[in-house]
């Protein structure tokens, strides 16, 4: 046991916790003012719901003793046996409980990411049921595949330092399923030619949210070193530089395509960079990180531009930013990973190991396929049983009033 590592990991857990309210503000600023509380609530309440799910069931399913390389068993149900002794297979120098609560924050923010896809129209009761089911049936098993002791993608050698596949591709493709099943918001026209304008009601709130995400992400990525040392420093540096590069790349691209660099573009670019560097952060050097950031800023912006042509209403661009950003990051890890940075990792294509790219591809494809199919089924079943959407009248009135009986801004 190492007190320095333990202190670092507890602080990192707190940093990752802050990302969920940060995401709430990031999303909250982008919706119309009648839906800001509903949107914030869909994120904030997951700190409650998923934390409890995690303690009772989720942690055991994700990290518990392996069953068929696909899931953990229920030995750690209710955190049974998750105590102060380090669990060597995960983190040898910190209490097992510290590792568990750190991972809890990841389990919370991942489903929260999906909420951007169905913003401004989902029924709160169905939302809660969906989130508990999704965490249990999608997040926990996929986390086990990649990070769990005995998980099949871990055994295959897939590299995912802080959650490119587990968190971002996983949530990003579930967001696509959500947008497809849920249908567009009332008055949505794709090209801005619908009967309603979906103009963000408070961009300063969105920028503040992006800033909190950037801040918290140091806990997410550097903390994934699970020890306070050189690797954490390397991941911290890679995270910051990729994000800086992606911010500039996004606004640079939109400056060329649309004539003006926007603050929403800067915030979106930052998040795209954070997403893309997540799987790579502990395996790549600073210059590789900058290249990954540039790729993410440009490609995620183009993905967001392509959305109207594809016809679905992924309201806050979860697919364009998290799914595409996650894929860029996971594949880039297969290009730029280097054992010089992290001897416990692997070498990528550019460091003489083309096989790594193939392994990364398998991890991406498996996550995309599994998460999409199960999410689609969950949404369909809940649509037929509980109903996914609020009534048209409630949608017009806004979620703040219809779902929570509150108004965000009173004169």
């Amino acid at each position: 046991m190492n007190t320095g590592d333990t202190a670092f990991m507890l602080v990192s857990a707190a940093l990752v916790m802050l990302m969920t309210p940060g995401l709430a503000l990031f999303y909250g600023g982008m919706v119309r003012n009648k839906n800001v509380l509903g949107t914030i609530m869909q994120n904030f309440v997951l700190l409650g719901v998923i934390s409890i799910q995690w303690a009772i069931l989720g942690y055991s399913l994700a990290f518990g003793p392996d069953v068929g390389h696909l899931t953990g068993n229920l030995d750690w149900f209710g955190l049974n046996g998750v105590g102060f002794e380090p669990f060597k297979a995960y983190a040898a120098t910190i209490p097992h409980q510290t590792f568990m609560i750190y991972q809890c924050m990841f389990a919370v923010i991942t489903p929260a990411l999906i909420t951007g896809a169905f913003a401004e129209r989902m029924k709160f009761s169905t939302f809660l049921v969906f989130m508990i089911l999704w965490a249990t049936l999608v997040y926990d098993p996929v986390a086990h595949w990649v990070w769990g002791d005995g998980g099949w993608l871990k055994n295959l050698g897939a590299l995912d330092f802080a959650g490119g596949t587990v968190v971002h591709i996983n949530a990003g493709i579930a967001a696509l399923a959500a947008a497809l099943v849920m249908g567009p918001r009332k008055g949505y026209g794709g090209h801005g030619d619908g009967t309603e304008s979906f103009i963000p009601h408070n961009l300063p709130m969105t920028i503040l949210g992006a800033a909190l995400l950037w801040f918290g992400w140091f806990g997410f990525n550097a903390g994934s070193a699970l020890a306070a040392g050189a690797l954490a420093s390397s991941a911290f540096t890679a995270t910051h530089l990729a994000t800086a590069a992606a911010t500039l790349a996004w606004i640079g691209t939109e400056w060329i395509f649309r004539g003006k660099p926007t603050t929403l573009g800067a915030a979106s670019g930052a998040v795209a960079g954070l997403v893309a560097i997540t799987p790579a952060s502990g395996f790549v050097g600073p210059m590789s990180a900058i290249i990954i950031g540039i790729l993410a800023g440009v490609l995620c912006y183009l993905a967001v531009l392509a959305k109207p042509k594809l016809g679905y209403d992924d309201s806050l661009d979860v697919v364009g930013v998290h799914c595409i950003g996650g894929i860029v990051g996971a594949l880039a890890t297969g290009l730029f990973a280097s054992k010089l940075i992290n001897p416990a990792g692997g070498d990528g294509l550019f460091f003489g190991n083309p096989g790594q790219l193939w392994v990364q591809f398998i991890a991406v494809a498996a996550t995309l396929l599994y998460s999409f199919v199960v999410s689609l089924i969950l949404f369909k079943v809940l649509d037929l049983t509980m109903g996914l959407r609020v009534s048209v009248d409630d949608e017009v009135a806004g979620l703040d009033l219809s779902e929570h009986q509150e108004i965000a801004y009173n004169l």
Binding site: G192, G265, V304
Partner: protein
């Protein structure tokens, strides 16, 4: 008595207010409003999605004054609020039937 109602560019509020002060106008009411005129709307772009915003933010000023001061107030607003570009706004002048000061019950020009 006349009521002068002017819709102006928001950034012209300060100079107009200062000039009306200099004319010793007794009081004014200011409202943030949205609307369109010859300028029509503006285009806004969010994540590459373009929206036509039909109603542009403007400021509405309302001043009530004795008949003989009305023209000077109108001239002052025109002088201070004018940029010469589309979107400078409009002034409407109405007759006022009665003014009553709530505190004292005074009426007419004494209450302005």
């Amino acid at each position: 008595m006349k009521k002068i109602e002017a819709i102006i560019q928001p950034f012209k509020l300060e100079p107009v207010k200062d000039a009306l002060h200099a004319l010793s106008v007794q009081g004014m009411t200011v409202t943030e409003v949205k609307g369109f005129g010859v300028q029509k709307g503006i285009r806004e772009v969010y994540r590459g999605m373009e929206y036509q915003v039909d109603f542009i933010p403007k400021v509405k000023i309302e001043v009530v004054a004795p008949d003989e001061k009305a023209q000077a107030i109108v001239d002052t607003i025109i002088k201070e609020a004018r940029t010469g570009r589309i979107g400078d706004g409009k002034i409407f002048v109405y007759p006022v039937m009665e003014v009553i000061r709530i505190r004292t019950g005074e009426t007419g020009e004494n209450a302005v």
